[in-house]
Symmetry: C2
Subunit: 411 residues, 2 copies
């Protein structure tokens, strides 16, 4: 999963959302999670005004904070994100919406900023009203705990976790003609992940100066090559949110296309790809990281459809779990993707070993392939030969652990 770092970028050890200048964060325990002392509420804050952009789930059933967030982000200004885990505030009707508004109001008083610069976000169980006494006390404590040390960065990354086993955090430095821009980010999975817009929570900070419009374009483009390329269980969440705050504290300004924008976009893409892949690696019960590359399709949409259908097939996912070269499941999944396919022009490689060539089984060393599949990374390459478009989807396997986690998550 690890990729090469481009020359213009530098990863910052223990970097997070507080690495870019003038950002602070906190994560504390307020009693939402059943396991005591695991952070479950947090704040990301820019000490100076910042532009903001965000993307949200396309699920028709979306959570109260998402409904509110869509309204807030239209202003293009964002100085703080208030986020809780342990309760999604979804399917909670009018009362849920009022609770989300109240979270913003509480934070605005404590942080002394406008409610219209605050994005509220929630993740966790659906269909339960937020315990507003705990939430309000939590926001107060989190607002008092703000800081920019590595511990603060780690605390906010932990505060957004649900079934994640590890916090996911990164920061990089983008070098641009004598100056530098910092970009930081955190994300959380690790079930209800399906690519169609956001698919989880991801919060990004940067100290570049950029307009909200341009930032939104950069974010959309970056999500398309990261979070929209992953799937864990194909179940789209009600709460998916990606948001970015850009406060200009670096003194570097981007106003239009050019080298600076290219470098910034490259940096942002690196950060979002890292965070998206980290979600897959930490997918519920995941033991494998699977890259599915479909090429030779008639359109990009066709390539995507086939790759996603393969990625979401429980039969493919269980075969991968068993390190089993059961390639018929991969080919047959492609066959029901709803896309034109000619068996006589379909060829499949697993870990660069040819297993199926132009509609016929290829002879290969079963033992060698099986051994190669026992490693964590699996690379599936399907060529369908109807055109020139390709796409990649990243996913994980389906294990007994996924069942354990999800058969009892509710209580």
């Amino acid at each position: 999963m690890k990729e090469n770092t481009p020359e213009s970028l530098e990863e910052i050890p223990s970097g997070s959302v507080v690495t870019p200048k003038e950002f602070q964060a906190s994560g504390i325990y307020c009693g939402l999670k059943t396991t005591k002392n695991r952070p479950d509420i947090g704040v990301i804050f820019s000490k100076i005004p910042a532009a903001g952009a965000a993307l949200f789930t396309t699920n028709k059933i979306c959570a109260a904070p998402v409904v509110l967030g869509k309204k807030i982000i239209k202003q293009g200004k964002l100085r703080a994100i208030i986020v809780n885990s342990g309760n999604a505030n979804a399917c909670t009707g009018e009362r849920g919406y009022k609770n989300a508004e109240e979270m913003a109001l509480t934070a605005s008083k404590l942080l002394e900023i406008s409610e219209e610069e605050i994005l509220v976000s929630s993740t966790g169980v659906i269909g339960k009203h937020l315990p507003m006494d705990k939430i309000s006390a939590g926001i107060e404590q989190a607002s008092r705990s703000l800081g920019n040390t590595a511990a603060h960065g780690n605390a906010i990354a932990q505060a957004i976790m649900t079934t994640d086993t590890l916090p996911k955090s990164i920061a990089i430095k983008v070098k641009t003609s004598g100056n530098e821009i910092l970009i930081g980010g955190i994300s959380k999975g690790s079930g209800m992940i399906s690519p169609n817009l956001a698919t989880m929570l991801c919060f990004l900070t940067t100290d570049v100066r950029i307009s909200a419009e341009l930032l939104q374009t950069c974010l959309k483009s970056s999500a398309d090559q990261s979070f929209n390329r992953i799937t864990i269980d194909g179940h789209m969440s009600t709460n998916d949110t990606i948001a970015i705050l850009a406060n200009g504290a670096s003194g570097v300004e981007i106003t239009s296309a050019g080298t600076k924008l290219t470098l910034f976009q490259e940096g942002l893409d690196y950060v979002t790809r890292y965070l998206a892949k980290a979600i897959v690696m930490d997918g519920e019960g995941a033991t494998k990281f699977i890259q599915i590359f479909v090429k030779g399709a008639k359109s990009f949409a066709d390539a995507t459809k086939i790759a996603r259908t393969i990625a979401d097939s429980p039969l493919v996912k269980t075969a991968m779990n068993g390190s089993d070269p059961n390639w018929g499941r991969i080919v047959s999944a492609a066959g029901y993707a709803g896309v034109e396919l000619d068996e006589a022009h379909t060829t499949l490689y697993i870990n660069n070993i040819l297993v199926y060539e132009k509609g016929m089984p290829a002879s290969f060393d079963y033992g060698v392939l099986k051994t190669s599949m026992q490693k964590q990374d699996i690379f599936i390459c399907l060529q369908i030969g109807t055109g020139n478009y390709s796409d990649t989807i990243w996913t994980c396997d389906l294990s007994k652990e996924y069942i354990s986690i999800n058969a009892d998550y509710h209580t």
Copy 2:
């Protein structure tokens, strides 16, 4: 899952495809299955000429016998079905097609009928060439073993099994003004099941006299209310086939719409529903039978889409496995079905207990609902309030046993 038997019908104890007059069958072991002495090849045979109809998978990657079968069925005549398990003869190219033809040729000589009256069918692992020596010897032995006892009916039902734990077989008597028609059937699952046409193997026999055209119409209609209403893992197979033979031996003839046709269709529907539900009940690792009823949709297609999306969500399926009233997963799955939905008009019942009403969580006794969900049958009823159409999908839960079965099926 058991439904009331209409007055015009009577279930025949130990009935199967050999119950209708002048039908014979056999099932023997020829060495395709790894477990010795489990029947893996069989024949269904009508001693007199018969009309035939069939439906096949819509997967773009379809097995050699399916390609051949689509050609054969156009003639409208069918006297024999030759079927093997343990090897799907799919993704096997030109050689696979020739092997399917050879199976028909071998059988035609032994049964002394035309190759054009023979349907070949295969199920099992994809991408391996059939061992034709074993197959030919198997067809010969199976042809010599034909008979019409309960043991013969049971043998053919076993010969089509792959990961099924039980043979699935039924026969009924349809009473029609002094006369009677017999209908028998067998089916097999139990993975790679997704509703879109056939979705598994099902072979039906009847002694009514009917034209191939009318029989095809009856079969399509019957599949739509049975096999097209089930899903196990959402993975559409390359080999799905439903076929029916009608030999006229009862002396009852149906030539057009009327009471006789209505009663026959009712009987056929009863048989296919029984066999479809039996596949779900015996779904790989299944511990629950789940009925998903969506009503108040704008169109039938919308209702189907929502019901299928809920049925295929691994998060819904694992919650059911854990007898867990995690209703947020059901509602959120409906939200990404790609269908118009208004949360304020969405209401959900689980086992007739109201859990979500018009976009708001309902108060219900968690313990009572949880206890009711520990039973085998679960009934999910989602009302979306955008129109007057409804649909039902039957599915099962997702268990650790499913993972065990599918992580190691290949070898």
